[in-house]
């Protein structure tokens, strides 16, 4: 592999320059120009420092009265099962000039689509709060702007492959932040590279691309079932801007066990709260300018920390709930804020998934922490709650893009994100959860499958992000992982005081240890993950398999502002030996 190490490149460049200068300028002249000190060392630490209070662009949102609008619900997108539409789907790119180029869909035979979805990405008007402006946001589909969440949702099932036609109808002449080039990533999905929405595979306005979602268990192992995924735009250099503009959706994946029916008579069904009691809560963090329009600071390199919290598209809504059990699917879309959620009444709840993948057993908690892009399913029981109002509260202080301060606020001073208004007690046929309710067993970790151990060190160099001392280059493969093998990855944060949500595409992994301390049974991290909350100076060891598909995938920071400044590496799944 060609070494592209920044330190050695830097040294070569420096020597190069010195040679040129030596040939051209006398030492005396160089000293005169301040290039060299008398001792011959290059001038260092000249100390330009006029520390000012704050950088430009600090914007504070207008006041918005909280909890005056009902929370919007995500509406499942309706697909077509018409034979004509299914017959139209092809593994190869059609001869339609509007279809974007891609590789041939892998594993097509036997996984031909049974459902076809059409998404049309374009600006649509929406008002996120009565005190804010009606404004163009970018969404995947039409929606009723008075009643529905603008965020898209797909309900999918294992064994039912689908095809998404993703149409880019964003304005080619768009002005302002965001780039109308798009590539839709289905986050956490076990999909082939050509359907993954790789950051560098963007397609332009007036074209469309097909994404094949086989909805198959990784390696055919039903213990690998995924449950709560999300899709979002992933355009290289512009992911944070395009996600901020609204290109976000959720993807709920059901199977025989997690069937989406709390009254399922199948004895194997888990019977978690379903239907109107199975509710995605998509949490976005934004800031609005004084005219009430979403503002994105294009000159912030560290991370965008907004002062407004949106749930399913609205700023601080209320949600009228029955006094019974709910399954809430929490998603943090960022761009950069980390959370710790509690309920204002201190009530406990069951965490049933990590990154949307069911845990072996429910874990009783009174708070959950979520970095960017993480998903958590929790089951909350309102039946015994005496208060009529309960809040979902963020208690984690987070002031800038470096990460949370670590300070935990009391629920009375934390950010109230969502207000629950409790109604009547109603019938509840969902399963009563206990610490021994079997949800989904973890796949075995078999070290004999491990063919390679790799280190990924995330570092900061002159305000830029480097991985293993190298900067991202889309044409450089940083790791080749052999299909049908497993690897151990040691992921290290060496970037000083920064926290990062590190995400790998393609297959969920299991965390073996944090800083050498093994993850024990019953720990929420004893689970199948695709995002790691990497605290300052941590090393996390993971076990990951590579199955079914080949092609390129990224490993990147999901603080999307960091990601857009190249905090990314490329690994390829290959048929040949690892390297």
């Amino acid at each position: 592999m060609v070494r592209n190490d920044i330190e050695s490149q830097r040294e070569r460049a420096r020597l190069n320059r010195m040679e040129i200068i030596d040939a051209k300028l006398s030492r005396r002249e160089m000293m005169k120009y301040g290039l060299l000190t008398a001792g011959g060392a290059l001038v260092a630490k000249s100390g330009l420092s006029i520390r000012a209070a704050s950088a430009g662009g600090a914007v504070t949102s207008p006041a918005t009265t909280p909890f005056i609008e009902p929370m919007r619900l995500l509406k499942p997108h309706v697909g077509s099962r018409l034979q004509d539409d299914l017959d139209h789907c092809t593994a190869t790119v059609s001869d339609d000039p509007k279809e974007a180029a891609r590789a041939v869909h892998q594993l097509w035979n036997g996984n031909e689509p049974q459902v076809v979805y059409n998404f049309t990405q374009k600006p649509r008007l929406y008002r996120p709060h009565p005190k804010l402006a009606e404004q163009n946001i970018w969404t995947f589909r039409d929606f009723n702007k008075d009643t529905e969440s603008p965020l898209a949702m797909i309900h999918a099932r294992y064994g039912e492959p689908s095809m998404v036609y993703s149409h880019n109808e964003l304005p080619a002449n768009h002005k302002g932040y965001g780039n109308p080039m798009v590539t839709t990533h289905l986050h956490n999905a076990h999909n082939a590279s050509e359907s993954d929405g790789n950051p560098t595979d963007y397609f332009g306005p007036g074209t469309y691309k097909t994404f094949h979602y086989p909805n198959m268990y990784a390696g055919g192992d039903e213990r690998e079932a995924l449950g709560f995924l999300w899709f979002h735009d992933h355009c290289m250099d512009y992911t944070s801007q395009n996600v901020y503009r609204g290109l976000v959706g959720t993807y709920l994946l059901f199977d025989r066990y997690d069937s989406g029916n709390e009254e399922d008579t199948d004895s194997k069904a888990i019977r978690l709260p379903s239907g109107k009691y199975d509710v995605p809560l998509v949490i976005e963090n934004k800031v609005y300018d004084k005219n009430g329009v979403a503002y994105f600071d294009l000159f912030n390199l560290d991370g965008i920390i907004g002062d407004k919290f949106l749930v399913n598209g609205n700023v601080q809504p209320y949600f009228e709930v029955d006094r019974r059990r709910y399954r809430f699917r929490l998603l943090n879309t960022g761009p950069s804020r980390f959370y710790q959620f509690k309920f204002s009444n201190g009530m406990k709840f069951w965490q049933v998934s990590n990154d949307g993948n069911l845990l072996p057993f429910p874990i009783e908690r009174d708070s959950v922490s979520m970095t960017v892009a993480e998903r958590m399913d929790i089951v909350v029981d309102f039946s015994g709650v005496t208060d009529n109002i309960v809040y979902l509260v963020n208690v984690l202080e987070h002031k800038d893009g470096t990460g949370p301060t670590g300070k935990i606020l009391s629920t009375s001073v934390g950010d109230k994100i969502l207000q629950f208004r409790l109604g009547a007690k109603v019938t509840d046929n969902s399963r009563v959860l206990t610490k021994t309710t079997e949800l989904r067993r973890l796949p075995d970790i078999n070290m004999s499958e491990v063919k390679k151990e790799r280190n990924w060190v995330f570092n900061r160099r002159n305000g830029a992000w480097v991985v293993n001392g190298e900067l991202f280059n889309r044409n450089v493969v940083n790791a080749r992982c052999q299909k049908n093998t497993a690897e151990i990855w040691n992921i290290t944060n060496a970037s000083g005081g920064w926290s990062h949500p590190i995400h790998m595409h393609y297959e969920e992994f299991q965390i073996l240890s944090r800083n050498g301390v093994p993850i024990k049974d019953g720990d929420p991290e004893k689970s199948r993950k695709d995002v790691i909350w990497l605290h300052p100076n941590e090393t996390v060891k993971i076990f990951v398999r590579f199955r079914d598909f080949t092609g390129k995938y990224p490993l990147h920071c999901h603080n999307v502002v960091h990601e857009d400044h190249a905090m990314m590496a490329r690994y390829d799944v290959v048929d040949d030996a690892s390297s």
Binding site: A41, G57, G176, P205, N462, G463, R474, N475, H565
Partner: protein, 207 residues
């Protein structure tokens, strides 16, 4: 009021007032009546005067940014750290972008060390690296440099690192003012990545 007109007035106010620190541009700039400001950075740049290695004097926004596709990084000639590699990669990027540089794409390297990086010094630096037309090495007063550095976000949140010239931000911002689109990548990234970033600023042709 026309956006450009407002831009000009605000920029003027910045120069006359001397400092902008502590005041956010959003306080100064509102959208014209009946016009929805979409978050584009129109109006956020201080219109300070910079002097180029070519001897010219330029207003930052009016002369260097307005309606242009640009690459901007900050450097200093005495930097023995990341600048030689950045400049070398930017020279390669300039070569790859060909005659567009100077026509519709412009490159700017602004010194962080204006006292030492006098006009002859930055001219020599440009010549040393074989910098072509369309790329200016620029210097401003120390206060103006600091103002610009903050407006461009070339700031490390760690005060110790931020105060140390050797750990200055090695990022190149690329932007197209006419459409308000801005991105960034490390200035010492491979030239092909820098060029790929710049290409995202081109007007998109419909299929």
């Amino acid at each position: 009021m026309d956006m450009r007109r407002r831009q000009f007035l605000v920029s003027g106010a910045v120069i006359v007032g001397g400092v902008l620190l502590g005041t956010t541009m959003a306080d100064l700039i509102g959208p014209a009546e009946g016009e929805s400001f979409d978050g584009s950075p129109d109006g956020r740049f201080p219109n300070i005067v910079l002097h180029g290695h070519d001897g010219g004097a330029y207003r930052f926004y009016d002369d260097l940014i307005r309606d242009k596709i640009v690459l901007i990084n900050m450097f200093f000639t005495g930097c023995g750290d990341i600048c030689p590699l950045s400049t070398q990669h930017l020279v390669q990027a300039q070569e790859m972008l060909g005659d567009r540089v100077g026509r519709d794409i412009f490159m700017y390297s602004i010194t962080l060390n204006p006292e030492l990086d006098t006009e002859p010094v930055i001219r020599d630096y440009a010549e040393t690296y074989g910098v072509g037309p369309g790329w200016l090495f620029l210097r401003a007063s120390r206060d103006d440099t600091e103002l610009l550095r903050r407006a461009l976000g070339f700031v490390d949140p760690d005060p110790a690192l931020d105060a140390d010239l050797e750990t200055h931000i090695g990022v190149v911002k690329f932007g197209n003012d006419a459409i308000g689109r801005w991105g960034a990548c490390p200035s010492f990234a491979d030239a092909e990545e820098i060029v790929a970033g710049v290409r995202t600023l081109d007007p998109i042709k419909r299929a």
